[in-house]
């Protein structure tokens, strides 16, 4: 939990190109190094081995690209947003860049608690544009779609349909999908497995390339960009959290 004295910032970043092959953990280490290279005034946890107060949103699978990754970092004093964007990007690996930043209100809820859905653009192969369109249509109208899923080595058969909030064809071999993070985050691979059950022509569908396009936070029934919620108000201390217009 954040202390009142600190200055939490929410950073949005992209991960594109070959760097998509590094893991969530590697991304965290890359940021810790970039922060030190930028000589940011990081706030540290107390304890035997102090570490910078940094927390990330939902993990991105190794090999997936993203235009919408987020992290929160706490500084000991405020810094101009533009300086932060440039300084941090300069220390990141090629293909990773900071694309937005917000000075958060104190005690804003964490990304892990708040992110409610994830948008992906999925390039697929193994089928025709017509079969793909038909499979997506069938998927949308199906009341339930049961696919075998594996969680921590335990196999079960789940109905994934309620977790797919939106699915649409965006090109001859491209899909846009939005999946819920609750009760648990649905994997893109499970959506593709579900699509394969829609028709014989779709049975050989395969996921070729995945780009995470958006993450959303739900507030009052609306989907919000994570940089637009919980902004620090310029009002005096004790002012309520500013709730920005949501999508």
């Amino acid at each position: 939990m954040r202390g009142d004295a600190g200055h939490p910032y929410r950073i949005r970043f992209a991960k594109r190109g070959p760097v998509r092959f590094i893991s969530h953990r590697d991304v965290a280490r890359a940021f810790e190094r970039a922060f030190r290279i930028a000589e940011l005034p990081l706030a540290f946890s107390s304890g035997f081995s102090p570490h910078p107060k940094v927390s990330f949103g939902p993990a991105l699978a190794v090999g997936y690209e993203s235009d919408a990754e987020y992290l929160d970092v706490e500084l000991t004093r405020p810094m101009p947003a533009d300086d932060l964007v440039a300084a941090v990007t300069a220390g990141l690996p090629e293909g990773m860049a900071v694309t937005g930043i917000t000075h958060l209100a104190d005690r804003a809820p964490s990304l892990q608690e708040e992110i409610s859905s994830l948008g992906y653009r999925v390039t697929v192969g193994g089928t025709t544009p017509e079969a793909l369109a038909a499979a997506v249509e069938a998927f949308r109208s199906a009341p339930e779609i049961r696919v075998p899923v594996s969680r921590k080595g335990v196999q079960s058969v789940d109905d994934i349909r309620p977790s797919v909030l939106a699915i649409a064809v965006a090109g001859p071999d491209v899909l846009d999908v939005e999946v819920a993070t609750r009760p648990r985050t649905l994997r893109v691979a499970d959506v593709v497995t579900g699509l394969r059950t829609m028709s014989a022509e779709a049975a050989s569908l395969e996921e070729l390339r995945v780009l995470r396009t958006r993450q959303w936070i739900e507030r009052g029934g609306a989907r919000c960009e994570p940089l637009d919620v919980d902004r620090r108000s310029d009002a005096p201390e004790g002012a309520a959290r500013a709730l920005e217009a949501c999508a």
Binding site: F21, I22, D26, E32, R33, R36, V62
Partner: protein
């Protein structure tokens, strides 16, 4: 320009740790190739996470890329999953920097830091699309060269490597670049011509230019086939590390690797004279980096890498003559940066003082490792690791009193003249160390890590017959049983792996066929316990009609020609033999950095001298021999005059 990336990329989605193959580390280069530039592919023949941190490879990578007539890229052994994909798709080994096929380079330059990577060397050559045997290569194939400590006995790999480089690489790579550049400009004709030319470069050994003569199992001689080929190849040595502040931009990997931290080399060489230690023998004399240069390299390196840990590396870092001042300077430089941890690998217990301990603990602490190497004073006199029990206990006391909780202790088993009492002394020491720690903290722990001793070329123990697998196993179980009492933990190296290392360590050219058989049978990544199989090695020895015990467990005789007699580290054979006899008589030898020269042959033979950062010896500089060292004026050592900005 042939970039394999578009064809590799889809394969990477199917393999473990795909980021091993993407390059893009901070500090990496994408050099522009051209007909007027010699293209080096620097290969570490093991997995990326083991090879990336290798400092030797990174130093050469920078030096070559600074040259207008050279480019250097890097490659590592693809893990078995990617290897299978590459072979299935007809793709070759590639560089991680620009994903160029290995065969597009003029030289494949291997780093050989461990014996068991031998089969990976063959696999990498094969994956490059190059014949594994040097004799089968043509003018259009890259030259296969190798450097690193294992090249001090190059014979087991002599059939596969066109040229070995013995010793420090900083200078000789430029000379090789010039020879290969001339060959390239002349249209890369006759391969033997360029090899003959390379053989005239000091420090370069071209095995195909030597005749090997046997008498039954015995080696008789290795002699040059031409008059212009040297009968003995001497190692290369850079005289002053101050001239080589490399790596300037240490690579910062995107995934976790071993030694994942900034590494700054404090000095090269060691004169403690531990008789089991090949590195200490072959890298003489001591060349310390100037204190201020080391301090600047640490500060700059941390700033540009973003690392929060730095290791001060050498064969015995606490022996650096300016260690207390340097540690203090680093601590002062890092004040207010939010925590950097400092580690001193390879600590000598007699040089680790409360002063150093207290400065290190001002920054963040990492685990502490000491290497007493043997469990009894008698045994330590044999190996010339003259550390007293009192020294060990006071170092450990200093560490625990300054807040460390975990101490790791390194030992060797299977040393010459070792008795069970010596072996059990290891357990005794470890238990006593834990007891000292318990006085300071309830959570104190100590781990004794034991490895089976493998005798190495160019050391006084090169004549010693290694312990058999069974004998090493028996000693491990002695320790395991004994350490059921007390709180010390035990870890040990696989005795079977030590046996295979023994085959390669002192093998002759006939072992090449064994290496090839093990490789053909699928024996790659032999440094990895889950992939290692001694059975393959023994089968290959049997198939070649070679007796493993003749190579591994047999004591050598004084008059016997050794397979590395034509490779010189500068040490007189007489010195090594006399030191071997002194070992058997349990006589120690002092550290010649601070006491009179006993003429091992290196300084006198190569006109070199020790270079020290401070004229005052560090704590423990007397090497435990009881000699009293006076003030600095009385230290009988000469100091090399440092030249300001030496031209290169």
């Amino acid at each position: 320009m042939s970039d394999l990336w578009p064809r590799l990329e889809p394969l990477l989605a199917r393999v473990e740790k795909p980021a091993r193959y993407i390059g893009m580390e901070r500090g990496s280069r994408r050099p522009e190739h051209g007909p007027d530039r010699v293209a080096w592919l620097l290969l570490y023949p093991d997995a990326y996470e083991v090879g990336l941190p290798n400092q030797g490879l990174q130093i050469l990578y920078e030096i070559l890329n600074e040259r207008p007539d050279a480019v250097a890229e890097r490659a590592y052994a693809p893990w078995v999953d990617l290897e299978a994909e590459l072979r299935a798709h007809g793709l070759p080994l590639f560089s991680v920097d620009t994903h160029r096929p290995a065969s597009d380079f003029d030289l494949l330059a291997f780093n050989l830091s461990a014996e068991l990577v031998a089969t990976n060397l063959l696999n990498c050559i094969d994956l490059a699309g190059v014949p594994v045997r040097a004799a089968e290569r043509g003018a259009h194939h890259p030259l296969v060269v190798a450097g690193g400590h294992c090249t001090y006995n190059p014979e087991p790999l002599a059939d596969f490597v066109d040229a070995f480089v013995i010793g420090d690489g900083e200078e000789v790579i430029s000379e090789i670049t010039e020879v290969v550049g001339a060959w390239k400009r002349s249209g890369r004709g006759n391969r033997e011509g360029v090899l003959r030319e390379l053989a005239t470069v000091p420090g370069v050994y071209v095995p195909s230019l030597y005749e090997v003569e046997y008498d039954g199992p015995r080696l008789v001689a290795i002699t040059p086939r031409y008059p212009d080929v040297p009968a003995v190849v001497d190692k290369r040595t850079v005289a002053d590390l101050a001239d080589w502040p490399y790596p300037k931009e240490q690579l910062v990997p995107l995934i976790e690797v071993v030694h994942d931290r900034l590494n700054v080399e404090l000095f090269r060489g060691c004169t403690r004279g531990c008789r089991f230690c090949q590195a200490g023998m072959i890298t003489r004399p001591v060349r310390e980096r100037p204190l201020e240069q080391a301090r600047t390299m640490v500060a700059d390196g941390l700033r540009r890498s973003g690392y929060d840990e730095v290791a001060l590396t050498s064969l015995s870092s606490a022996d650096f003559s300016g260690i207390e001042g340097l540690v203090g300077g680093i601590v002062d430089d890092q004040a207010g940066t939010g925590g950097v941890s400092l580690s001193l690998p390879s600590l000598r217990v007699d040089a680790f003082t409360v002063g150093v301990a207290s400065r290190i603990q001002e920054v963040r602490r990492t685990g502490l490792t000491f290497a007493p190497e043997a469990g009894t004073w008698r045994m330590r006199q044999v190996i010339n690791k003259l550390v007293s029990e009192e020294d060990l206990y006071s170092a450990v006391d200093a560490a625990y009193s300054q807040g460390w909780r975990r101490v790791k202790l390194y030992f060797l088993i299977g040393l010459p003249t070792e008795t069970d009492a010596d072996t059990l002394g290891i357990a005794e020491l470890a238990r006593n160390v834990v007891a000292i720690g318990k006085q300071y903290t309830k959570g104190a722990s100590a781990t004794a890590s034991v490895g089976g001793f493998v005798p190495k070329p160019h050391t006084p123990f090169q004549w010693f017959g290694q312990n058999s697998v069974e004998e090493l196993r028996r000693k491990v179980s002695l320790l395991r049983d004994d350490l059921r009492r007390g709180n010390a933990k035990l870890r040990w190296h696989d005795p079977e792996a030590s046996f295979a290392e023994g085959i390669l360590s002192r093998g002759d050219r006939r072992i090449g066929a064994v290496v090839e058989r093990v490789w053909r049978a699928g024996g790659t990544f032999q440094e990895w316990s889950e992939r290692f199989d001694l059975g393959r090695w023994l089968d290959a020895m049997a198939a070649e009609g070679l007796d493993p015990d003749w190579y591994v467990t047999r004591h050598r005789t004084a008059d016997e020609p050794l397979p590395w007699d034509h490779i010189a580290a500068g040490l007189h054979r007489d010195f090594l033999w006399n030191d071997w006899q002194a070992a058997l008589a349990e006589h120690g030898l002092p550290d010649c950095r601070w006491t009179p020269c006993y003429d091992c042959g290196v300084c006198t033979g190569y006109a070199l001298e020790h270079v020290v950062a401070s004229p005052v010896p560090p704590a423990g500089g007397s090497q435990g021999t009881g000699q009293v060292l006076g003030d600095q004026a009385a230290v009988p050592v000469r100091f090399l005059q440092r030249q300001v900005s030496r031209a290169r």
